[in-house]
Point group: C2
Chain length 342, copies 2
DNA sequence: GTGAAAGCGCTAACAG
DNA sequence: CTGTTAGCGCTTTCAC
């Protein structure tokens, strides 16, 4: 019953089974060089019969090339990142490159560890979220000698290349749209995540633009943990009890915004006349809500695609990308929760 | 400007910089064997100063051990799978093992390709969704000589070990709960995914249990693509127009169920008296809905944890798991959309 | 078209 | 406690 006799097959096994030299077997299996049709068939047949699976570890060491792209993101449960991954995948699928994902939980130290782990596989490129990294991380990235694409943010200085939107600008833009619509008493709800720099920048841009119009956020609250939908609902309830004269609620993400929306609808509040609302991200997950929430698209899938394309071009064709900062423009969607400008 | 002179550092560089043999450097860096504090410090210092990152490719080849666990799942956008990943991660984080994810899009051929790619890295173990695989995939898995854990389903014969719930039983159980509550005219809505075997088994179990009570599904509809929430809403609207006398709606996932719920609420239908509803999965993402949707928890996170634990135990401690089929019991949550049994 | 030799960067196994 | 020697399974390079 014990099949401890098990030894993974090697090129040599295929070589012996087919009576062809290891070298030629290798060539056939990689589709390289000219090999006569006869030998090729012999080799392919033998490989298939044996159930040979090449050893990429050995291949990579010998060829000094690893077709891996390290993708380092803060979280898997944020929905935003799976979408970015989808974009990355869609591009890499057409190539020999393969993504490998690492999760940082928004912690710089963990990012550093994950990065170290990843780099020890000598990937062909790195895609990582954000522009803020520990010094050690930056040093590793710079000296890795591989393309590095920082995604989801362009407010800062990239190590190599950045692809994303300006969250500061996004925050400002939303504030302007809100002001233009005539709202004046604004409440803000967000996640309690000092290390989510993108949320922070959005909020900064937001308050900055309000300040320019002489307005301050009238109330604010930050949550952590739990179901976002439920939290949005609860926070909204609390905030309106605390500060009943608010006429606008800005949420740092669509999910809590949706929770708030459900609460307001239940209370029979007239949206967007009495109270307007807006979120952020444009998750189409929420398309079926009773009212379309005003939001701003972070171009997640596109960001993933572009980042992957840059890596692929660099690795495969040696093409250097000319633009070092690629800023995408988030689309503002007024939905049905932000009244038309007066 | 071209820094093509770049050459990744090797053990030898650290060895030279510290005046210690490569072997000892290797020992220090891996924390193996007894090394005097003095030499250790020398080595660590040199490694840090140089910014040395070990080459795992070479290490893996030399030691014949690769600390990778292949995780093969159908999709990233299903929410279910990111959650499973979270469970897997939480266990593997405490070990030296690292997950590597592959996506199959529910396609057997793609699964085969992804599996082949993964196995060529000689991972220490494989976790993959479902019990249905192509013959070639099964052959590869069997002859890989590594632990294989099939997750999310136990209705079938595992290659090695299976961890999950019985979807057939889950379907039956939901049907029984519905019947017990006195509902009789039942509509079903699901995804158009012939290759989602788990959804299929759930539906089979469901209809089977209904049949036993002499009842058939009165109407059914399957969708594909688009926002699940919106689709749920639309399908529900269509179905109720088509078959107005339905008194229960069973959805193959919570997301479309939530869409349907929002629609019914808007129409002012009395839930669960006039129409009852249920979904599947127990995504706590939806916790904040106006009414808690009846659902059944697929134990996603736990499945991930157990699967990872089995692999970890086998790889690290050589412990063989005694149970080859680990069936978890999905918790039935009646929520507020399934009236109490009469 | 095919093969032989020489490593890739590291670690197992054994000496000292 | 530390160093030496041989590979791991492949691919590169150069012969034939």
């Amino acid at each position: 019953m014990t099949k401890n006799t098990h030894r993974p097959l090697t090129l040599r096994d295929v070589s012996e089974a087919s009576g062809v030299s290891e070298m030629t077997v290798s060539r056939v299996l990689r589709g390289r060089g000219d090999v006569s049709a006869t030998t090729r068939d012999k080799v392919l047949q033998a490989a298939k019969e044996l159930g040979y699976v090449p050893n990429k570890i050995a291949g990579a060491l010998a060829s000094q090339r690893v077709n891996l792209v390290a993708v380092i993101i803060p979280s898997m449960s944020n929905m935003v990142f799976p979408e970015v991954m989808t974009g990355i995948n869609s591009v890499l699928e057409g190539t020999e490159l393969q993504p490998v994902v690492g999760i940082t939980d928004y912690l710089p130290e963990k990012e550093e560890q994950v990065l170290y782990q990843m780099l020890s596989w000598r990937p062909s490129g790195v895609i990582l979220a954000g522009l803020e990294h520990s010094e050690a991380s930056c040093a590793m990235l710079r000296s890795a000698g591989i393309p590095v694409v920082e995604i989801m943010d362009v407010d800062g200085t990239p190590i190599d290349t950045a692809v994303g939107i300006s969250h500061r600008r996004a925050g400002r833009q939303m504030a302007q749209a809100i002001l233009k619509a005539g709202y004046k008493k604004i409440g803000f709800m967000g996640t309690k995540m000092p290390l989510d720099h993108r949320a922070r920048k959005r909020f900064e841009g937001f308050t900055e633009a309000l300040a320019k119009a002489g307005i301050e956020v009238s109330d604010q609250e930050f949550y952590s943990g739990g179901s976002a939908l439920a939290k949005g609902r609860d926070m909204t309830k609390d905030m309106l009890e605390r500060t009943p004269d608010l006429d606008f609620l800005y949420y740092s993400n669509d999910m809590i915004g949706a929770g708030g929306l459900l609460h307001l609808l239940e209370k029979g509040i007239n949206i967007p006349q009495d109270i307007g609302m807006a979120g952020f991200n444009g998750v189409d997950l929420l398309d079926g809500l009773p009212l379309q929430l005003a939001t701003m698209d972070a171009c997640r899938k596109e960001v993933g695609k572009i980042a992957a394309q840059i890596i692929a071009d660099r690795v495969i064709h040696g093409t250097e990308n000319s633009e070092k900062i690629i800023e995408l423009t988030p689309k503002l969607n007024l939905g049905a929760t932000l009244r038309d400008p007066q």
